[in-house]
Subunit: 328 residues, 6 copies
């Protein structure tokens, strides 16, 4: 039986050894001592919850999040949402992991072409060599193309780091057009390298933060890794190194946000603001897209924006036509 | 004798009834009771200090900042800078005020053409009518084209509000390309109207804040003025009014910065970040351009950025060539 | 069968199609898939919880909070509190809504008489005309007399806005006696108008915040609405308008509390402090009055006061006699 | 020659051994090494500056602020203000210190009568005995009637503490009328005792803070002193002691303002807000009354209010008539 | 049947009228209306949970936390942890309370000997008499030896206050060796007395905060109690009293942490930092020791440290050998 | 003529080409246009001010702070302090720079011996090799022994970094005795390496911050430099590297203080607190030692402690005898 994509699962279907990525698991106990297992099953197109009543006690321990599981059961409904009533669940090996992870909105190939074009546009020879040193390293390049940009569910996706870095690049280039005092080569380099350390910050499958990510922060890792590349580039100007490392360390913009130093150069200032604009926007889009079934015209509080977001009134067709209603 | 532009004033010149705009005046007293008047004289191209020793006591009171003065004296030097040793100074009427006020980097005509093009690109009929209601009012349009965007000296210039509004417009349009969930018509409208109240916030000549500007804030005035225009537009959707007024009130992004509410819609969030990017960048450019003669590689603390800014080491030619040295 | 007021409901009573206002509803599911509906039923005198086991799935969706319901069932007990075991519940029209909403401590008529007396005491002709413009508008007057002053349950009541406004008026008049530098006409006007926008901020039945209330804030709406009235008053002094609008915008006292500007006039300062005194006191009274059955001498944390409040030791008769025991 | 009150000093007068209180002294040196002494001379009605050129070097050291000086010299003018050109200045004993210190707005006798009436109105026997214990102590009573309420110049005056305590008393009584849940005896007691420690906090002549005032704070001293009185009152209820000491410790309202605990009882909350209202109002009145000769419609920043205050536009006659112009 | 210590309880054991200290109780209700009692049973060596299904409704009310209970039942297992299935539970008197409370790591006798030695080392006669006045009071001495130093479970233990005070004493003495400008007698006195008020702050059995502890804070009580002792010491220098009381009031280091004044003397500064070092370290040790069964390499967030703590990776044997693994 | 040490300079002495280190220079202009040069002249034992009236305009530019100058002139007095009246001043080469820089309180040799002993006490082979890698590098060792620990004048001294690092080491070892859960090898390593980056942070003569110090922070440089050493140590455990780098990055304790991450391990927590204790104490000692001639019992505000510090009352002999009077 071929795998049924999550997006095509429907009420009443029978699943047999269907492979999924296990996103979350929770075990709860009833008074009588019987166990209930609740899971979130995923593939790249979405997620579906599952429940296993009276699960044998050895089963939950055999399963690991961010790993494959094979599920047998029937698709039912709970509070108006589909739910798999599990009869059997066991670890399995996922042959093609990419089929099971969410991916960035833009196709990977389109993004790598844009990256190439941007790299080719750099005229400063030192910055050009620095970028080449980073991205010509196959392992780094591959990690950079696959890493997520953050750990939260919807924002976390394969290619998220690359997508975000390119967006920041476009915004700083727009700023360079408005403000000729900006050095576009430096601004572009910073846009592409400021989050480099994120390739060590998230587990590439579960998107959970690594120990290094928590204990060291990606700010430190980005700066230290860029310095390691610069160490290998003879003749790299000291002044330029000063500015590159500074802007990376300062890109969170405020001490309270984890930058050990405030942005003190024009490029560092613009990097921070462009980074914030793209992250704020994508975070809001993701937050507005999360299903929240209470019919309110406001979302739950968004931790990132420190407030609830406004969805728009239900009856409203929205100011720009119905097709954008949900995000408004 | 024709007026000598400030930029052409040189050591040893004699000035006779030369007209200037009086930017600042300060009176100090020596122990012996004699008075000394120190002034900053300006035209659109720059400023020069002047000093009047043993000034008769009625003279300082006869002069008003942000008004014209006629100066007679000789150009000397003090601590390595030019300084006019004043022999006579008196109020005068400036025939063409524009010759005496700093202006935006971009030519006015270029900017009004860009504004026209942006207005023409709006497809939403209600937003289009709202913008027309605002900008077809001759008095508002003129004030909008002349007002400064802030009160600090270098940032303050004729056309500053228009230049800033257009820059924000370009940045939100760049964001719309990256994030199709944004409504470009709404985002553009907000970029052009969010600072509308600044036409009532600064004195058009001295650039000092008005009483209204201090006691009411431009946030409130922008929102209330936009509502007055909407009141006159039959059929303007309530939902759209909600979003427009909200984003204007929220565009400072944080309660501590004077917004009574945090941005809660995607367009409000992006408006705030784009506004901050342009203001931060222009503020840094202006701050780095201020003459500070102590030879340090850092500026004085920038109030806006809450830190000193880095100019670059003196001996360095800078990463991108000498022509950008000063701003680095 | 006549309606039994909530305050008279007793254990063992049978209710038949008894009308209530539905304050809250919550649906929970048992493991077996059966649904349980939990509700809070209210009239003006109080609230009683209800529970409906094995509720048919279409029933919860048919009910709306802040609307009438007709309930059939028997009054039981749960954890020492009365609880209606519901057998049938259906939407119904409430003929006299006032019988079902909590009301202010002071009788409405007494309050409107006090308001009239205060309005009559104003000697400044412009402020007198401004207040007349606002309160002679029948719709505004009615809304002002009925609106709550806040959304939290106990504080929220019909007439709450009027009661609070009058209390602030009395406090600012007390301040005027202490400090003759205060302008009593202006202080009184501000006390009565500072929360005017709250008539648009809360749903008059559910007391939930409206979209406008959340996205615009009542501060903005109060100021903008007062300006609309002033626009219609020829000869209203500009200086007075400056002060009135400023004090309304500033009455939350701190940027962090949502005022876009700090109070900068004597009357604005006193308005803020008097407003805070009355709100803090009423909020504490309401919080101490909330039933919290754990026997502790402290309440749960009060969000408004950022701390738990002290009820007094249980055995204590209290410093001023037993009749005040609960609030101490 | 009889003493000329400061208020009657006029240009050209000759002073001979005229007694003053020395408010401030400053010594500056000219390049040639000669010394100049600048002083502020005061009596209860006001202050006048003085200057002593080429003062012998032993003279400044012989003078102490907050002590008497005898001045010989002539009244001149400097920058439009009167200034005594001193020829001789020497320490002197002031026979009647009260003639040289600023006093509260209200006459002392009127205030002590009001205090008596308030003390007589207390019905709770324990609180009544506590207040008697405090105010029947002659030394405490005298200190309480003379102490200032704060160290800044205009607010600091003989009787300031008493005037402020009575004002807070009136405000909490107004709150008691609005909110019957308040215990008026307790609220009144707190109003009168919350600042008791200020009798140890300020020097009674210079109004400078004492070492105890700085190192211990008046909050601690008020609470500890009230506890010492309670220790001597047999049968004082433990619950009442809890509440009295708590409210005193909490009356600054926020940890950042130096209260070690937030107000947790209704009376403590109202005490804090009433205290703040009166202090904010009096502080604004004093700040607006300070001479600031720059003609701006705003004052210098008020440290207490964290902002500049608005004086009103110059040409305006003010909303309530010219006699209040200065304070607006 | 002799009492079985908690540490020796094992699966399958039958308990008969076994005495425990009742740490916590919680009553929950099942849908059918039956009650379930969940308890935490303790002796000095540890705790074990218990559950009583279908408990008669009068039983829970008869039990009080921090009091003795006699338990009959059988030891079962729930989610891999021991759990007593209770058949009968009733209040009982605990003959030797010390057997049921957790105690400090160091033996009491060792600590009192160290205290004696420290007291004997003081050379300043006034401080020596002050310490004698405090610790020669039998009741105070006993309370000081038994009180906990904080209310949280693991940190709370009999002797905790003494253990902490001695640790601070050792740290300030280490600081005195590094910085000879410190006065060791004063520093040591402060280390031993700064938390004196904690003997009134916690219930000696439940370790819950007392009303006084919450409403007055131990800072105030420590200072006021030390002052009462000083009041009885003739000739105690005013300057020394100033410094002792100041340092106690300031020992939380920041206004936000509840000190009404910042540390302003060298000894007060060092007292605060040493106090913080010991509390931070012990708090981290306690937090890391709490069982948290999720297998993460990080703990739950520690409220005291405002972050999660790092336990170390599971597979790691730790940098310094396996015996310290758990705390890493 | 042999050099006269600053400590031996006396009124009336004539200096001829006396070498000093130039600490500060300031040029001021009199109205007549003549220049006055004010300088601070230093050797290792102290500083003396100097003044050069009518200085030729080329002289000030020829002098550089933190460089040698040769001074000819006579020692006079100004406001009771010695002052050199300069007749000639010119750049000179200082043969033995150490004679002109302030040094740490403890002799260098004593400190390096203590460092050796500490290094020898480490038992963990990896940490031992890491420390050897750092301190066996001659250049690093020399820089570490000479660098100051901070830029402020009195705290800044040759050997200051070493002195501070050893003090932190002693404090963490004291903490290890109190809390056996601490790993002493790790704690000691962190004490010695946490400020390693300070060897790049301050100019070794002027003690001014370097550009790297400002733009990168010593936190980043310490961590990155330690990682470079670890990179060269095969077999260094990943877990240990995690902990070492984390604690260095976290040692400022709070994000607001420039640490990008909070301390999350026991050793990181103790490192931060011990570092703060020693810095707070030394900073207070230095601040209290600064001459402030106004006779107040309080110092000027200490930026580091965010408050004024208390010196003690003048007449007081102090609690511990007169010999410590100044620091109290």
């Amino acid at each position: 039986m071929p795998r049924i994509p999550v997006a095509q699962i429907a009420l009443g279907m029978d699943l047999r050894k269907q492979p999924f990525l296990l996103r979350e698991k929770r075990i709860t106990t009833t008074r009588a001592g019987s166990l209930m297992l609740q899971v979130i099953l995923a593939d790249r197109g979405g997620t579906v919850p599952g429940v296993y009543f009276d699960v044998p006690s050895h089963v939950p321990d055999s399963l690991a999040t961010a790993k494959g599981v094979a599920v047998t059961g029937r698709v039912g409904e709970f509070k108006g949402q589909l739910q798999v009533n599990i009869e059997r669940i066991a670890p399995t090996r996922l042959d093609d992991l990419e089929d099971f992870l969410p991916t960035a909105r833009r196709p990977l190939e389109e993004m790598t072409q844009e990256l190439d074009a941007l790299l080719g546009s750099i005229q400063d020879p030192h910055l050009s060599r620095l970028l080449a040193s980073v991205f010509d390293d196959t392992q780094t390049f591959k990690a950079f193309c696959q890493a997520p940009a953050a750990k939260y569910y919807h924002h976390a996706c394969v290619g998220g780091l690359l997508e975000h870095s390119l967006a920041v690049a476009r915004l700083v280039l727009a700023a360079c057009e408005l403000h000729p005092q900006l050095n576009p080569d430096l601004a572009l380099t910073l846009a592409l390298l400021h989050d480099l350390g994120k390739i060590h910050t998230y587990d590439p499958v579960s998107f959970e933060m690594t120990e290094k990510g928590i204990l060291w922060t990606h700010l430190y890792m980005s700066a230290a890794e860029v310095e390691r590349h610069i160490d290998r580039l003879p003749g790299f100007p000291a002044e330029l190194r000063l500015r590159v490392v500074h802007a990376i360390l300062a890109h969170h913009g405020r001490l309270e946000n984890g930058s050990p130093v405030l942005p003190m150069t024009l490029e560092a200032i613009v990097l921070h603001d462009a980074d914030k604009l793209d992250a704020d926007a994508q975070g809001a889009i993701d937050h507005l897209a999360r299903p929240q079934g209470d019919g309110s015209s406001f979302t739950e509080r968004s931790f990132m924006h420190e407030t609830r977001l406004y969805r728009g009134t239900r009856e409203s067709s929205g100011p720009a036509g119905g097709e954008q209603r949900e995000l408004w």
